[in-house]
Amino acid sequence: MQLKIKYFGMLAEVAQCREEDLHCNEVTVYGLLKVLYGKYPKLKEKNFQIAQNNELLSPKAKLTTGEIALLPPFAGG
């Protein structure tokens, strides 16, 4: 599955980019996390959530092709 991963806030520092294309054979959030932890071990120390289609996803949620966002704790206002 072809994904575009977007990194926000401190996670962009960990990935050293704001977005990247990623080919991923996993179809769940949990599977994607394993891939990302392999690529960026420091992500394991970070507190973040994953969103697709503008909604936060649970670890068991299924992914669809397209944009995925890694979101650190919100700090608006």
């Binding site: 926000f8 909604e55 966002a69 704790p73 919100f74 700090a75 608006g76 206002g77």
Partner: protein, 147 residues
């Protein structure tokens, strides 16, 4: 719900007192309104490990943020008897003492605005993907976490 449609929440840089004054002035034609309640978030010169914050740089996941602002807006109009409501949030750099969040609710009655304003501000803090980089005077930084 067309009149409640949300637009232009994000503003580049600080929200100025003049902009806020103008926004209040525009509401003087709404003669069914009896009470306005305004929340302003201002950037604090927090001291952390001996260093002092000088600026916060805000970024957001725009698409999702706009969707969440719309959801908050619809929920507020459903729950409370509001005449109107405005939200403005800064993106980019906002210096200490400057305003980064401006929420403005108006209603015929005061009880409604107190409850509505707190609801809206708490929902923004909890559900809108905005991120703040606290930049210290020595240019080092830390990522802000809401409490």
């Amino acid at each position: 719900m067309k009149e409640h449609k949300h637009k232009d929440v994000f503003k580049q840089g600080a929200i100025t007192p003049v902009f806020i004054g103008d926004c209040i002035a525009k509401h003087q034609s709404k003669t069914t309104v009896g009470a306005h309640n305004i929340f302003l978030g201002q950037v604090r010169a927090d001291k952390i490990d001996g260093k002092t914050v000088s600026t916060i740089e805000y970024t957001a996941y725009d698409d999702m943020a706009n969707k969440k602002f719309n959801a908050i807006r619809e929920a507020a109009f459903t729950k409370f008897n509001l005449t109107c409501m405005h939200i403005y949030h800064s993106l980019g750099k906002v210096r200490i003492g400057e305003i980064c969040l401006f929420v403005f609710v108006s209603s015929p009655r005061r009880k409604e605005v107190f409850e509505a304003l707190e609801f809206v501000v708490e929902e923004i803090k909890a559900t809108v993907p905005v991120f703040g980089k606290e930049i210290f005077e020595d240019t080092s930084h830390r990522w802000k976490v809401n409490s």
